[in-house]
Symmetry: C2
Subunit: 402 residues, 2 copies
């Protein structure tokens, strides 16, 4: 090695989740760690058929370079769907196709962030966003969540004292907490932001995975000009295609397209054609009904198991959608210690601290319920509860709690 | 719009090429502008068969999230091939899969560049690299090329006075000039760099498209520790898959993997599986023989037409490989003016100035010969020569030349 690395590397955290994923490649491990969809829900046959059609009808065209913003027909499909689902007045020209919505975060960092720019996000917050934005060396700050969404008083304080340039949120079925902003809170947040010089990032990968409750209102529809909305097909169709999208005001979208071009020219033509064909030939809503039935059952199994096996002083969220729930152990109980015990028993999860940009979360953990079947969920939660009891019995600082 | 964009946006040039691509979507335009492979060479049937096999044998697995560095078997295939072709002592652990080799440039910028870091590149240089690296706000400087490669005296001056952190090169069948470094020049360049604190970026998307001359030696094999080698399947298989790779020293590769994860998690699982299956079931060398036969004929047609139609005081390169040749008009003749005339006659190319980071190239242009058949190449060059004559006849500043 003969040249120094860029300073930004000191700011980018290694993803603890990706590290854990290595461990959880062992199929005997019950993993609540990753954010993987259940592969059993993937529409393999339909995608295989769509792919065959693409080769037959497009042939060479599906294998050639294509435009930076993405296939016009796919962008139109996304815009139409968004209009139907959310009433947003958008067209293909308001959509940019990205290589997964993670790429959307990278492009947003590129377009908006100078070093030390103040950026606000949720606490706990999505680790992938912390990673993606950290590359651009912002001053990341966190606003606590309660079960209704961003705490408005803390938001007010942040807006008044730190003047964040961006506010990054996952309002529906949040990663990692599983909470969803209430309708009232969505309106309060939008109201607070409407006169601020701020761009609101609304990351919505889980919005279509709703198991109970009402259809949430998109913040984008409450604050259309200020909101950059990120969507993904990773949770609705399949993540291995790496297809997501950004919906934003035209001028912002132009800038995002400029840096998208510098970043990877464009997203795979073949994958865009496959997805377009799949969406044309199939009813995504029917598919989602099946996916949601599976995840609803897995969520219910996890909640039942937590209620059955876990001590009463452990708090957990009860998500109405998405893929995660969030556990708060009694103060002083270390989720990292629990992780150490659990991984020996072949159960994995993500301890809380990586989701906190400003410290905290030592007694918290994230559980994923989308990737294990009900039997394994029940078994895994039982093992976790046994490990939790052992933390007490081993005579460490937390004995008084059990 | 309610927030300021990042300063870096002022440094990222719009790609003139991408702008032109919009014009050249009109099929009646003869385009020498883009860098598109001839789609007639794409192995559509073989890729369709490989894809079907992937769905049958991998199914769900091909549609799930996968590891950031890429499929181990694909990385192994690339390493083995690189070892056979170039004698490089590399394994799968030395390879990172990227979403096209354009992404490799973005990742390199992320890993190495602080604002205003000195970075050297070729003059004329690859526009995509100028764009990708500009995002990280380096001080881009250029070292002139002659027909043997980087001018060594200018390289010496640059090394002594500017101490560039990176040197970006396309040593084989360069974009945009079409020149290829001679063996002697490769050794001289490597010799000059061996005691410098510098990282050499060797971008090699065209290395396997050789029509005449000897197999070039990779700079990576002359300076293994200092060189980051970028490869691509866009020109050998199909660009629509967006698959490239980086081969670098382990510590650098770890850093590239860290930022790759932040940037897009990983490259499409499906596309990696398709490519792996294709490479396993087919002989890439046989395919390349066919591709090269097509491009060799197209290159020969273009050179013959230039010799036949163009004035003798127009200089052009005679590439031994790749997809481009470079034209130098007599001093004072504007390639932008030629472009204006030619596009009215439905012939497109890229004027020279975007390839110069420090000014110049007004009388130069890049011609692509990979994307048009011989008849259209002959016709297009004839039209260009007629436009060139008209520049003289229209009585502008360059009349004395024609």
């Amino acid at each position: 090695m003969t040249a120094e690395y860029a300073q930004r590397l000191t700011r980018v955290p290694q993803s603890f989740i990706r590290e854990i994923l290595q461990v959880t490649l062992d199929p005997s491990v019950i993993s609540f760690a990753g954010g993987l969809p259940n592969a059993a829900t993937f529409p393999v046959t339909e995608l295989a058929e769509a792919t065959q059609k693409v080769y037959q009808s497009q042939g060479k065209g599906a294998l050639q370079y294509s435009t930076t913003r993405g296939l016009p027909e796919l962008r139109q499909h996304i815009a139409t769907d968004l209009k139907q689902r959310s009433g947003l007045d958008v067209t293909a020209d308001d959509i940019l196709i990205t290589s997964g919505s993670q790429q959307g975060l990278d492009l947003i960092g590129k377009v908006f962030l100078n070093r030390d720019d103040p950026v606000a996000m949720e606490r706990p917050g999505y680790l992938g966003a912390i990673q993606a934005l950290s590359v651009y060396e912002p001053n990341l700050m966190a606003i606590p969540l309660d079960e209704q969404g961003l705490e408005v008083q803390a938001l007010d304080l942040m807006l008044n004292h730190a003047a964040p340039k961006l506010l990054y949120t996952v309002p529906s079925y949040q990663n990692p907490s599983g909470i969803s902003y209430s309708e009232a809170r969505r309106r309060e947040v939008a109201d607070r932001l409407k006169n601020e010089d701020i761009v609101l990032i609304e990351d919505d990968p889980y919005g279509q995975l709703r198991y109970d409750g009402d259809e949430p209102t998109l913040l984008k529809s409450l604050l259309p000009d200020k909101t950059v909305l990120l969507g993904s097909f990773s949770k609705t169709v399949a993540p291995g295609l790496r297809l997501g999208w950004i919906c934003a005001e035209r001028d912002i979208l132009d800038k995002l397209a400029l840096v998208k071009q510098a970043t990877d020219l464009h997203t795979s033509t073949l994958n865009q054609q496959i997805l377009l064909q799949y969406l044309t030939d199939n009813n995504l809503d029917s598919h989602l009904q099946q996916v949601k039935a599976v995840y609803r059952q897995q969520r219910d199994t996890m909640i039942d198991a937590l209620e059955c096996y876990f001590p009463k002083d452990v708090h957990f969220t009860r998500p109405q959608g998405g893929m995660f729930l969030w556990i708060t152990l009694p103060q002083g109980v270390s989720s990292l210690e629990l992780f150490g015990l659990a991984i020996k028993e072949k159960v994995a999860f993500v301890p809380g601290t990586p989701f906190y940009v400003d410290g905290g979360g030592e007694n918290c953990l994230r559980l994923n319920f989308s990737n294990a079947d009900p039997n394994r969920i029940d078994q895994g939660i039982r093992i976790l509860s046994e490990c939790l009891v052992r933390i007490g019995q081993d005579g460490n600082t937390t004995t008084e709690l059990y």
